[in-house]
Amino acid sequence: MLEIKTLSKYFGGVKAVDNLDLQVERGEIVGLIGPNGSGKSTLVNLVCGVLKPTSGEVIFKGRSMAGQLPSARLKHGIARTFQNIRLFGGLTVWQNLWVARNSTEDIQSQSILRRWLGSSTTLKREIETMLEFSDLADKADVLASNLAFGEQRRLELARAVAAKPQLLLLDEPAAGMNQAEVAELEQRIRSLREQGITILLVEHVMQLVMGVTDRIAVLNFGSKIAEGTPNDVQENAAVQEAYLGHSDQS
């Protein structure tokens, strides 16, 4: 479904992403790990269209995404969450979901005017479903900036999922979470896969990565140093070396 071909991104002399090849098949949950500065977030930005590659291609569903803005890629089916939550703080929870792109069926089935007014009952029902899914139904009218941290993360996820994407990129969704919250997140990710969404998970929190992914790719200094099942990767010498001390974590 997603094919990253010899993708490179250089910032001046810094090779943030260096000749990376990666594939994600439909229905998979692929993990992407690596020490800080290994290029994970840059990769997410490249796939989503926030950054332009220096060379190489991002191919989604057989089609090159070159030159497409993030909003266009969302239309194709790629959604993402942000590492440092980027909610619309001045809008309520409900409004945050309202302005986001909602399912394609929702959009195709209305006139432009209806869409701008945002008053269709289908849309309202879908937003309510999302709120239920994220346990935020009782916070619908709270300003996003007034939410607790965990709630903000849930809203961030809900907003990305609201677009009914086919590929969802999660950028360190578990950062700052305690164990109970991580377990909850793991559940959510599993139910997203059941809904048919392919997931690329960028994460540091090993509990989550090991628990939920089918396959893991390991980055260091912008290139892939290992790839395989969670067990394979855990035992891989190169990976242990890259992390220097994190190898014991599971």
Binding site: S71, R86, R101, W116, A163
Partner: protein, 303 residues
């Protein structure tokens, strides 16, 4: 009585000016172009009623179309320019428009007298209201009907998805783009709408004041235009109206007794206000949007 009617008219026209800037600032575009659109609306409407003898409503409608069209064209290059530079670019546009009007000369003989814009001498004799027997209070009501309609429209659209989308773009363009909002469409649409409203204000102004002088359409006017929504806050349209009442009613008229020293005090007041309460007059959403509009980096800005 006439004095007060004039003041009420001025407040109405400035409210429209402020509202046109309001829409733009919601989307994060601090634009000084409103003075330019205002002037375009004024001259277009005046030329139509004076030289082509159109009726006032058609002239206003056409003026709104023209200034909206120009705003639409300005909207695209404006996308390429961020923050403080947009302020500079729109100042450049307004100055260009003003100088253009300074040079427009289109004199026509009608009924033995010369009429029309006269280049550096301004554009006198915009006598539609007089010639058609409008009373002063009728003009005031006419003007304020438009103000009320525009305020109602903006108020209403703020309750729909439109308002939320505008504010989302104003707060965080990257997040807006990533969640599927077509930022280009939103920003250009806001600029166009702002242009239409400013053009409306201008066409009303031209007929109320009966004499156009390029000195009106300066950066000072553009500064007023953005001052109103910023001072009044971006939560709703009434903030802008109150700001206009305050600035025009209290400051401009109230300080009139100071005569020549007025501008001096005005300057001092601005300096004091900015030092004492640079954000205090603003609510959180205004601050948030302004921060984004002027390109101030937040700590959380690394994506």
């Amino acid at each position: 009585m006439d004095y007060y009617l004039n003041l009420i008219n001025t407040i109405g026209i400035h409210t429209l000016l402020g509202l046109s800037a309001y829409l733009l600032i919601l989307t994060g575009q601090v634009s000084m172009a409103q003075a330019g659109f205002f002037g375009i609306g004024a001259y277009t409407a005046a030329i139509l009623t004076v030289i082509f003898e159109w009726s006032i409503l058609s002239a206003i409608g056409a003026a709104m179309l023209v200034s909206g069209g120009v705003a639409f064209l300005v909207g695209f290059p404006a996308l390429r320019v961020k923050g403080l530079m947009l302020v500079v670019a729109t100042v450049a546009f307004s100055e260009f428009a003003r100088m253009f009007f300074y040079n427009v000369k289109w004199r026509v003989i009608r009924d033995g007298a010369e009429i029309g814009p006269n280049g550096t001498m301004g554009f006198p004799e915009i006598r539609y209201f007089n010639d058609n027997g409008w009373l002063n209070w009728e003009v005031t009501i006419f003007l304020w009907v438009f103000v009320a309609i525009v305020m109602a429209l903006i108020w209403w659209s703020d309750k729909t998805r439109i308002g939320a989308v505008l504010r989302a773009v104003g707060e965080d363009e990257l997040a807006a783009d990533s969640t599927g909002i077509n930022v280009t469409v939103v920003k250009v649409a806001a600029m166009t709408a702002g242009g239409v409203i400013a053009g409306l204000a201008g066409s009303l102004y031209a007929h109320q004041v009966t004499d156009l002088d390029h000195h009106t359409f300066t950066v000072l006017l553009a500064t007023f235009a953005i001052a109103y929504p910023i001072l009044g806050g971006l939560s709703n349209v009434f903030g802008t109206l109150i700001a206009v009442l305050f600035i025009q009613g209290l400051l401009v008229e109230g300080l009139r007794f100071l005569g020549d020293w007025r501008m001096l005090l005005f300057g001092v007041l601005i300096i004091l206000a900015m030092n004492i309460k640079p954000l205090g007059l603003f609510d959180n959403q205004t601050i948030r949007i302004l921060r984004n509009a002027l390109g101030v980096k937040r700590q959380s800005d690394s994506v």
